[in-house]
Amino acid sequence: MAATDAQTSLRHAFGNVLAFFILILIGVLAFSIRLFSVIKYESVIHEFDPYFNYRVTQFLTKNGIYDFWNWFDDRTWYPLGRVIGGTVYPGLTLTAGTLWWILNSLNIPLSVETVCVFTAPIFSAFASWATYLLTKEVKGPGAGLTAAVLLAMVPSYISRSVAGSYDNEAVAIFALIFTFYLYIKTLNTGSLFYATLNSIAYFYMVCSWGGYTFIINLIPMHALLCIVTGRYSSRLYIAYAPLIVLGTLLAALVPVVGFNAVMTSEHFASFLVFILIHVVALVYYIKGILSPKMFKVAVALVVSGGLAVCFAMIAVLVAMVASSPTMGWSGRSLSLLDPTYASKYIPIIASVSEHQPPTWPSYFMDINVLAFLVPAGIIACFSPLSDASSFVILYIVTSVYFSGVMVRLMLVLAPAACILSGIALSQAFDVFTRSIKLQLPSLSIDSPVDAGDGSSESVVPDDTVKTDKTEDTQKERTSKKSRSRKSSSESVEKPSSKSQIKKRLSVLPLETSIIAIVLLVLLGAFYVVHSVWAAAEAYSAPSIVLTSHSHDGLHVFDDFREAYAWLSHNTEVDDKVASWWDYGYQTTAMANRTVIVDNNTWNNTHIATVGTAMSSPEKAAWEIFHSLDVKYVLVVFGGLVGYPSDDINKFLWMVRIGGGVFPHIKEPDYLRDGQYRIDNMATPTMLNCLIFVETDGKAFDRVRRTEIGKKHFKLTHFEEVFTTHHWMVRIYKLKPPKNRIRGKTKKSKSKANPKTVSKRKELKRNPF
């Protein structure tokens, strides 16, 4: 027996070392699969929001944390300005800033940009390790490793964390998984130490991403589920109560959350469950000290009284929530619950493509084979159902719902899908390899103990009766939740017990097992191929540099940076540049010019003003822009090279958002028979609006595949000052008011005079 023990512990140690190296390799894989963007393009910050984060990080590294906290940015949202410190989730910035600071203190002189570019890949390695930890808590290390390797290359997560994609989600997914891990860990161990760590992890999540509300709703849901299904335990109390108290206090420290942590309905669920768990704890305590008879009497008393109080409180709560105009829910959260809410009431939220519901193919694109493995994982989680596995099930169910609402939240689904698929795969491998092992005598002699679990319990396969017995007792214990404090060892036992059932019941034929394993490996291989393809081709484009392959080779469109460079070199440092809000962050970060609106869409009226200007005729647009001190207008036109997300395609949103605030802008004016068209069938309003001017000089639009309805523009209030190489970005300058005002007599060419003359009068009519 001693020899077996020594052998077992040796195997155990060997397994740990192997797992450690596998984890390191997973980290390397997670990091390196995200480097395609750097290799194929260059080491740049991607897209829109990352540019803002980059700019904030630069500010942080230059001026320190206090100035960052108090930063009033006068270069965006002119003339309102923006209090950056109080409106930004600082987690990402502080993380990258700290990384940079540590590297610099170690005399590794990396630029801030380099650190920012590589923050996301580094944190995706962390995220896969966190997944390992979480899944290990649920179903043992084998499932953990599988889940970790799946997460390291799940396309959905890659799309948000390639090198250069320096956005909140890059660190938030790690924080999300790690918080869940610590919650499960606390739940399994009942340790107050982990509970404290858990609230700190939650604090980091709150710092990082607005998606923290997912945690603060999911964990109460799980606690409630445990209570309802009769699984209440002191461990649950320790996992839940400190998190709510400490977590809420810590969350309120983040300026952007502040009093929202106790004031908005997103957090109310946690408080309700918090009250409930105390009531339940009290009931269990009373139950413990009273005789069963007395207890029944007490229940009858308390329930009648308690129900009345509860109803009163719920009524008060409902009344309070209902009295606030948006029912206390912010627009983004409301659009989660009612998918049609945003498109009905908040065009600015609906206008963002990542706020749209996803299509079916995007599930296949983003989580690929995981979509098929998840159901198997759910089944695996039910046998047996523990606190931890019920949490995972709840996680997948809610995240599937949320991902169906908003394409962006596919990102929350991905870790859940990876965890469940990891569990499914590892369980399947378990079954098949064991079937093979049992049928190969030479092997089964060698290894009477299953390698996967580190259980010291000696299990002899033939001794079915005995196994059955232990099986039953274990099952009983699990279902009764009467586990001892040493539940950590039990959680390791659980998989073993389950594998024993399978071992006994489902010994599959050798050939079937081999074929199944081959098929599973093939499935995995397909996933790897798809993920690498997605990482290399689909999700690596930085979107500020575009490429296209055509018959005569590769074309690179670097028009955005060309335009921003032009602005920064040819305009005054205090000039204001107006553009649709998509380009606001890039303009401030790359051109260092003041913008009117940017991607932080906090002021709908201001955006509507710009939208109105863009959809107004030239003169009205000039007046609006002039009242905002705008010097230059930047528009994006993809018609020449076929770049689809240009301002003309976004134009209907400008009209909708503008019309939401200024009712003289009406969407039907821009549509011909309900159709959006820019050819000669387009409505006159459409052909005369400012945004249409950007098509000037081109006859054919390759995005819309139509001929442009109006080809020559004579601009009186604007002048074109710059057009990039591929015409993608065009910059117009506002002309100063005319030096003289012309009289109105004669000259056939001066037919349009009354307009010019009446300019002064109309100057007073601006939207403010």
Binding site: F59, N63, Y66, D67, W69, N70, W71, F72, D74, R75, Y78, P79, L80, G81, V83, E572, V573, D574, N592, S627, L628, P736, P737, K738, N739, R740, I741, R742, G743, K744, T745, K746, K747, S750, V757, S758, R760, K761, F768
Partner: protein, 433 residues
């Protein structure tokens, strides 16, 4: 934090390269004439210019060698067009060149006449003055005509309907009516740049006196302007008169008696009127400059790069007026400063110390954002001053709030007593078995 750079914006940047009071000695004026006879017949007007230090350069309007600029530099500071009949200028000058001359901040005096050419009319139209489209029409006034020896067709009219502005016409009141004989023009009422300096009486109309009036005249009554001035947005000034002879020695010297008026003046108002008007047009009066805009917190002297909400600040600006020889302090009590962000949050009238310095102090409003100090000073006859200086206003820093709010002491007490109570409870609970 990025260095904040403030822009000092003024809409009179042209000052530097055109109207240059610093070199008053050699201010050159190009006078274009139809023929040199005008030089002697209008010598009184020219002399008054010369006596004020202007260097007049007389040229025939169709002289092929005339040019306004050479190598991109304007040769003259002002242009006098006493050539109403010219159809085509000589040399490189055309209507567009003259308008460019104005748009680059130079002054212009245009005199039309009964037979004004299309070219002159076009220049006038471009400046916002519409001469009667009927080329044969002149201003006729059967009740406001000037009494003369010969009972004429009442085209020589005496007008005393001046603009009421001391800045434009000088502080001395013009007693005698101004004699006028020529064509009338109309102004667009919505055009804020054009001013009617001398208008016709309500009984005047514009028609051909030789023919019988068949249809109602297009220009009627006091809407007819006889002499108008324009101050362009770049403060270039233009004088447009419907008559050349109003500048002539004959009109300057002749006596005048308005029909129906018992008083007979020995000398018409023309000389005083046009001399004073030319002073205004040539920037000898009514030209303001604003310099030395300063603002700082009360008790400090350095200009901050950013203000905090509720700061007290002082603002000052120096405004001077050009007297023809030197910059004199401008004295007025109606200069206002706005603290502006999309709309004025503070509007204060500046007090002045009679030495040209205007100042005030106020409290920054409780709103953060990018504000501007704006001085928009538009007064009749004066150049428009438009100053704006951008300054951001930030909210409180995290450590600028009150640390302890008196009203919250019960809550502090509650929190700390709770902590103490919990500590005692724990100690008792744990060690009191």
């Amino acid at each position: 934090m990025a260095k904040l750079i403030f822009v000092f914006l003024t809409l009179i940047p042209i000052l530097c390269n055109s109207f240059t009071p610093e070199k008053t000695s050699d201010r050159r004026i190009l006078v274009l004439l139809d023929d040199f006879a005008v030089k002697s017949s209008h010598s009184l007007f020219f002399k008054s210019l010369q006596s004020r230090g202007f260097d007049l350069d007389f040229k025939l309007a169709d002289d092929p060698k005339i040019a306004l600029q050479r190598y991109g530099q304007y040769l003259y500071d002002a242009l006098v067009l006493f050539s109403p009949t010219i159809e085509r200028f000589g040399g490189s000058i055309d209507a567009a060149a003259i308008l460019d001359f104005v748009d680059s901040g130079h002054d212009l005096i245009v005199a039309a006449d009964n037979n004004a050419s299309d070219l002159i009319r076009e220049i006038a139209t471009e400046c916002g003055v519409d001469f009667d489209e009927d080329t044969s029409a002149v201003v006729v006034d059967h009740s406001g005509y000037a009494v003369s020896a010969t009972e004429g067709d009442h085209t020589l009219i005496a007008s005393d309907d001046f603009i009421k502005s001391d800045v434009i016409l000088g502080s001395k009141k013009i007693e005698a009516p101004v004699l006028f004989q020529g064509i009338g023009h109309s102004l667009n009422p919505s055009n804020s740049l054009v001013l009617k300096v001398l208008s016709a009486s309500p009984t005047a109309f514009s028609a051909n006196p030789k023919s019988k009036l068949t249809s109602p005249p297009s220009l009627l009554g006091s809407s007819i302007s006889l002499v108008s001035v324009i101050q362009a947005r770049n403060n270039a000034r233009i004088l447009i008169s419907g008559s050349l002879s109003v500048f002539s020695n004959r009109f300057f010297n002749s006596g005048v008696q308005k029909a129906g008026s018992p008083t007979k003046h020995d000398k018409s108002g023309n000389e005083q009127f046009f001399t004073e008007l030319s002073k205004w047009v040539l920037h000898e009066r009514g030209h303001l400059k604003a310099v030395n805009v300063q603002h700082h917190k009360v008790g400090e002297t350095n200009e901050p790069s950013i203000y905090r909400i509720n700061d007290d600040l002082e603002y000052s600006v120096e405004i001077y007026e050009w007297s023809g020889k030197s910059w004199e302090p401008y004295v007025a009590d109606d200069v206002q400063v706005q603290f502006y962000m999309m709309s004025p949050y503070v509007l204060k009238t500046l007090s002045n110390d009679k030495k040209g310095r205007f100042f005030t102090s106020f409290k920054v409003p409780d709103v953060y954002g990018v504000f501007q100090f704006k001085v928009e000073y538009d007064r009749l006859g004066y150049t428009s001053l438009s100053l704006s200086k951008q300054i951001p206003v930030r909210p409180f820093r995290h450590n600028e709030y009150e640390r302890f709010i008196p009203a919250a002491y019960p809550y502090y007490g509650a929190a700390f007593s709770m902590m103490a109570g919990f500590f005692v409870f724990s100690a008792v609970h744990l060690y009191n078995k």
